[in-house]
Every structure is written in C-alpha cells, then in structure tokens.
C-alpha cells in the first residue's frame, strides 16, 4: 500500500481515457467494462495514495488529505474521478470520461509541480484554529470540484447544442445527456460551488486577518489576492445572474459558466504552479521557498 505512487493512478486514468475515446468509434460492452475497471483500479490506488498522505499529515497535526498543495489537488482529482464513476455507472451509454479524464490528468499532472510539504500556514495554526482551517480547505476543495463540474457540463452542453443545431444524431459518437438535464446540472453546480468557494475564501480571509500566516507578510494588494478576488467576483456575478434571472438556463448559462469557472480554474492552477516553481513569485515568496502555502488553500488565505 505504501508503494502506491502518483504514476500508478495517472497511468490507469490515461488508459481509461484512451478506451473511452476508442468507445466513441466502436462502442461495445467489453470496452466499457475494461474502461470502468481500469478507472476503478486507478481510483482505488488514488484513494490509497491519499490515505498514505493523510497518515503523514496526522503526524504533523494537519487536516487529513489536505496537508499540502499537492494533496489538495489530488483530492480534487479524486472527487472528479468519483463523479465520473458515479455517472458512468448510472448510464453506461454516456461519454463522460472523454470530458472528465483530461481534467483529471491535468490536475494530477499539475500536482507534480506543486509542493508536497506540509503547509506552513497549517503548521502555524493553533489547535483552536484547526477547525477553521479544515472548513477553509474542505469547502474550497468541494467548491472547486463544483467549478470543474460546471466547466465539463458547460462544454457538454455546448457540444450537444451544436450537434442538435447541425441536425446530427445523438445516437452516434459522443453520448451526452439531454440539454435540459445538462442545463439543470450546470445550474446546480454553480449554486453549490459558489457558496462553498465563498465560505472557503471567507474563512481564508479570517485566518489571514487573525495573523495565522506562518510569519509571512501578506497584503490585500498582493497580485495573487487580486487575481483570485477577480475570479471570485466573476463567479459571484454568475451566481447573482442565475438567482435574478428566472430562466437562467441554456446556452447563455453554459457560456457564462464556462467563462467564469474556466477563468477561475486557469488562474488558480496557474498561480499555484507559478507560486510553487518560482520562489520570486508574489511579494511574499522569499518567505515561502517552493511555496508550501501555495494552492487554493493559500489563495483563500490571502483573500
């Protein structure tokens, strides 16, 4: 169990992705079963890896599974794979893997560039703040999973919409849910993820203002804080539009979700990677070599 590496489940997901792509051309039950089997095997390996990380985290009195930026990204990928397995088992015909696996592989790939050391922020947190920190990182993780789901659902909606407008049959190639269902799922993904992200960012702000920053100098003018703030404002705009518009569905919702969530994803992941790989990135980096504070955890902290 201790020998499980990131490569194990990364390779499993890559093969499952390739089989899902193959299924687009030649759909058959055997390919589906092999694909789901390999993805499930990867999911088990992924789970074991995270549990190992959690054990390591506990020794250092850190929240399980979320002790480092790398763990945090891997937890996010784990949630997405779980979502994929759930959807695939609910409807065998759906081609969800084609959309979700690239995200999963991207997240796991980016985790290579993120710090796997325990967060200084979490080290610095007193035991009384542990609950706040836990709420902060877990709401950000689930909220981010919702953002990813929003991106994928929007993409699926736009593809299905395009195909139907071009009179293409939905019985061949990509098997996608109906526009109505995609729109409804998209609506819920935004409804769930935005409040959770807000809670995550809000608690991060509380932690920041209460001084549990691991001795670093942070300010509201920090570029990372500003960019994350703008992304969050974009999502809040989308959230407000959905709440205020009686028929916030369809292509408009898909595009807006794609833009808002996509921007958030790109900026957050980009900032994480930059913060981890470039010690000089952002004003405080000198105090955080190789960015143990990086990731959405940190982004939330700074906002």
């Amino acid at each position: 169990m201790a020998d499980v590496t990131i490569f194990c489940f990364f390779a499993s997901y890559t093969v499952a992705f390739a089989l899902d792509v193959l299924r687009l051309k030649k759909p058959n039950r055997t390919t589906w079963m092999v694909s789901v089997g390999i993805a499930a095997a990867g999911f088990v390996a992924h789970t074991l890896f995270l549990l190992n990380s959690a054990d390591k985290g506990r020794e250092e009195l850190l929240p399980p599974l979320l002790s480092s930026s790398q763990d945090w990204t891997l937890v996010l990928a784990w949630l997405v794979v779980g979502f994929h397995l759930f959807l695939t088992c609910c409807d065998r015909a759906l081609s969800v893997g084609v959309f979700l696996f690239p995200l999963v592989l991207g997240l796991i790939g980016s985790s290579y560039f993120l710090a796997d050391e325990p967060s200084q922020l979490l080290n610095a947190a007193e035991s009384a703040r542990r609950g706040w920190t836990m709420l902060h990182v877990s709401s950000l993780a689930i909220g981010s999973a919702g953002v990813l789901a929003g991106i994928v659902l929007s993409l699926m909606y736009l593809l299905q919409h395009r195909r139907l407008r071009q009179k293409g049959s939905s019985a061949t190639g990509l098997k996608l849910p109906s526009l109505e269902r995609l729109s409804r799922m998209n609506w819920w993904s935004v409804m769930v993820s935005v409040p959770l992200l807000t809670v995550g960012m809000g608690t991060g702000l509380v932690l920041l203002l209460s001084g549990s920053t691991g001795g670093r100098e942070l300010s509201l003018g920090d570029p990372v804080v500003i960019i994350n703030g703008i992304s969050w404002l974009g999502l809040m705009g989308l959230f407000g539009w959905i709440l205020l518009t009686p028929r916030a569905t369809g292509k408009q919702l898909a595009w807006r979700t794609l833009l808002a969530c996509g921007f958030l994803l790109v900026t957050v992941v980009g900032l994480n990677v930059l913060a981890s790989r470039s010690p000089g990135f952002s004003g405080h980096a000198s105090a955080t070599p190789r960015g143990p504070h990086s990731g959405l955890v940190e982004a939330g902290d700074r906002s």
């Binding site: 407008r165 939905s170 109906s178 109505e180």
Partner: protein, 426 residues
C-alpha cells in the same frame, strides 16, 4: 402489355424538389388525373405522392401506346410549372417486372425512410382509391395495387421488419427530441394537422409520457376529435399563432401546399422566450414550417424529413437481415405477378381458340346427329363426350406451350403463330 413507373423519392431527390413535384389535396389530384387522361387516353394511371416520394404508375395493354419517360417527365413539368431540367436527373424509371418490384418494395416499406413504417400501406391504398375515384385506373393497375398490398402484408407477417421504431415521428423524437428534453410529461405538444401522421406522432409521444396535447387543424371538428382521443384540446387553424408560444414540441404534418408557420408568425411566438428550447418537427412535403424559422434563435431546433436520413440509414443497416428476407419474398411475388400478367395476355387467344374448336366440334356433332337419327340420346351423349376429349387433347399441347412461353414474358411470337395456324381474328 406494359407497366411502368417514373418516380423521385427521398433517396434520389432533395425535399426542395419533392415538395415542388408533390400532389397535394384531392382537387389537385383530380386535375392531374384529368390531364393524364387527356394526354395518355389509352393508359391507366395511379399517382402516389407522400412526403418521401412522388411516383406515377402507368399501365396499358398495348406496348406501343405506352407514354415515354420524357412524356411523363413533361407532364410533371407542365403540371407543376417546374422546368424539366431542374428535376430530370432526380427522376428514375422502371418498367415491367422492375416496376412491379418497385411498388412491392414501396408498399412493404423497404423503400421508406423508416424501415417497416406502416403509414405507406394506407398511403398506397389512398393513392389507388383516388385513381379509382378519378377513373384513371383499370384492370392492370387494379391487379398490381391489390397484389402490392397483399405482398406488404406477407412481408410484415413473415419478417421482423415492422418491429421497433417504425415511424418517422418515433425516430425523430427518439433521436433528436430526447437530446433536447429529459422528459415530456411537463411539456406542451402542439400538433398541426389531424391526419394519420399526426395520429401516429401523438401515439408515440403519449407513450413517452406527454400529457398536454394541443391539436390544430383546418377542420376544428376533426382537431377536437383527435385531441379528445389523446386527452388534449383541439382548435381551428385560426388559433395557431396564439398557441405557438406555449408549445415546447411542435409537430407539423399537414398536406398544405404552402408553409403554415412562417418566419413572422414564429418570430412573434418567440418574443420573450428565446432562451427556451423548442423542438419543431416538420413532417410535411411541401414543408409546413418555413426553413428560415431555424435561424430565428439558437434555441429553435427545427427538423424536416430530410434531416432524418442519417438516422434512418442506420436503422436500415441494423436490420439488413430482415431486408434480405423481405426482398426474397418480393422477388418471388413479382415473378408470380408478372407470370399472371403475361398469362392474362394470352387469355383472349386461348378463349378464341377454344371457342373456334368448340364451334367446329358442335357443327360436326349436329351433322352426325341428323345423319344417324336412329341413335338414342345416350349414344349421342357418349359421342359428344368422346369428341370433347379429342378436342381437349388436341388443344393441350399448344396451350401448354403457350403457358410455358408466358412465364418469361408475353409470348408474342407464339400468339402470332397460333393466330395464323388456326385463323384466329382479334
């Protein structure tokens, strides 16, 4: 004896051409039959015009009187005011056994967009009924169409062609509407037209859970009748514009020769709800919904019969085994029908020959009776039976030869020989 068909269908011609060549309504058909009778007085004719095909069958006893392909194309051109060069390439022709096989395939739905669809049989029956009402058909077309209906029954009962999704509406809803909507029990369905196709569509939609059904028709009574059957509401065509905005699914299946839903009407219906998807299925040919409606906004999903081609082709491939079996039945039936037709062509000669020999034997018997007056009735009866047997035995070889020859076509040479040998006059 000649049978032929010229036709264009969903495989050879686009909907644009088909709708221009279509015969819509009884008045237009009556006019067409009048013109056909005037142009080709010695020909029987049947016009079959559906959303997928326009076919003109002609038949005549005398091959020389048969209208040519160009003459029939010229008739279509003049009647519809469409230049010949615009559709000549889309027009196919069959004659003799090929024409018979074609009608059998059409009637058995092998040639339909949706394999196994049942509507074509009633469309063929209706086409023949119209021809009969307009006194355009005759014994040959009668035999042909009766046989086609019988063959279609045989194909449906002896193969599994009519199983599964077998209507255009079911294919369209299954392939496209299900890509748009998750469920139908909370949708409003508006059906324009109250014919067989509309009924078929309603049946399928209700199986899919539709509850709110609205039917509009030129005849409001008929609309109300049909709607009542499905627990819906029926209206006259004057309420169409008012009902359009509330509909999620619109199915148009009328025989109108002009679009019933134009861009202006639909645009007004979309005011204030352009973010709401609407599925429009136009099963009419000519089309009932102006094609430009699809461009009004991103949430209008308009499909006409030609948009279902790809799906129907897949449906066809998946049932290729059934097609092989059906084609085998059709081939046998076509052969048998043609033998009957050819045999029927020899009928007058055979009849004359029998009459002639019977007359000769009767005359000889009369002469014998007057010469041998002492013979009793029993003896005369015995002699008559003997003579009749001799006549039949003598006639048997030539008639057998005639029957054999008629298997492969009308035996013109043998018929001429018999006429000359036995001095038979037509």
């Amino acid at each position: 004896m000649n049978l032929q068909v010229i036709y264009c269908n969903h495989q050879t011609a686009s909907l644009d051409i088909r709708e221009r060549l279509a015969f819509t309504g009884e008045e237009q058909l009556a006019d067409a039959y009048t013109q056909l009778r005037n142009r080709f007085p010695k020909s029987e004719a049947v016009v079959l015009s559906t959303c997928n095909r326009v076919e003109l069958y002609t038949a005549q006893d005398n091959d020389a009187a048969a209208p040519t392909h160009d003459e029939l194309a010229g008739f279509l051109s003049n009647f519809h005011g469409v230049p010949v060069e615009e559709f000549l390439g889309d027009l196919l022709q069959h004659s003799g056994s090929e024409a018979v096989g074609h009608l059998f395939r059409v009637c058995s739905s092998i040639d339909s967009m949706v394999l196994g669809e049942p509507q074509i049989v009633s469309q063929v029956k209706e086409a023949y009924r119209q021809a009969e009402a307009n006194e355009a058909c005759g014994p040959l077309t009668n035999a042909l169409f009766q046989c086609a209906i019988r063959v279609s029954k045989r194909v449906r009962s002896e193969t599994r062609l009519a199983e599964g999704r077998v209507s255009i509406a079911s294919v369209a809803v299954g392939e496209f509407a299900r890509g748009i909507f998750d469920r139908f029990d909370d949708k409003t369905v508006l059906v324009i037209g109250a014919g067989e196709m509309a009924e078929e569509t309603l049946q399928y939609l209700q199986d899919d859970g539709v509850r709110d059904v609205l039917v509009v028709n030129r005849n409001p009574e008929r609309a109300r009748e049909l709607a009542a059957e499905w627990g819906g509401h029926g209206f006259g065509m004057d309420r169409l514009a008012e009902l359009l905005p509330g509909a999620d699914v619109i199915v148009a299946a009328t025989g109108a020769d002009q679009p019933i839903v134009d861009v202006e009407m639909f645009s007004r219906a979309r005011d204030g709800q352009r973010d709401r998807p609407v599925f429009v299925l136009d099963l009419g040919a000519p089309r009932d919904v102006a094609p430009e409606v699809a461009g009004l906004d991103d949430n209008v999903f308009l499909y006409d019969v030609d948009d279902l081609q790809e799906t129907c082709e897949r449906n066809r491939k998946s049932r290729s085994q059934e097609i092989v079996q059906a084609l085998s039945i059709i081939e046998n039936e076509s052969e048998r029908f043609m033998q009957d037709v050819y045999h029927r062509a020899t009928g007058p000669i055979v009849k004359r020959l029998r009459e002639q020999w019977s007359d000769v034997s009767q005359a000889e018997m009369d002469r014998l009776r007057s010469k041998l007056s002492h013979l009793g009735d029993d003896d005369i009866g015995q002699v008559e039976q003997t003579v009749a047997r001799i006549v039949n035995k003598l006639l048997h070889p030539p008639l057998e030869a005639l029957r054999d020859e008629a298997r492969d076509g009308t035996p013109h040479g043998l018929l001429d020989a018999l006429r000359r040998l036995f001095h038979i006059r037509d």
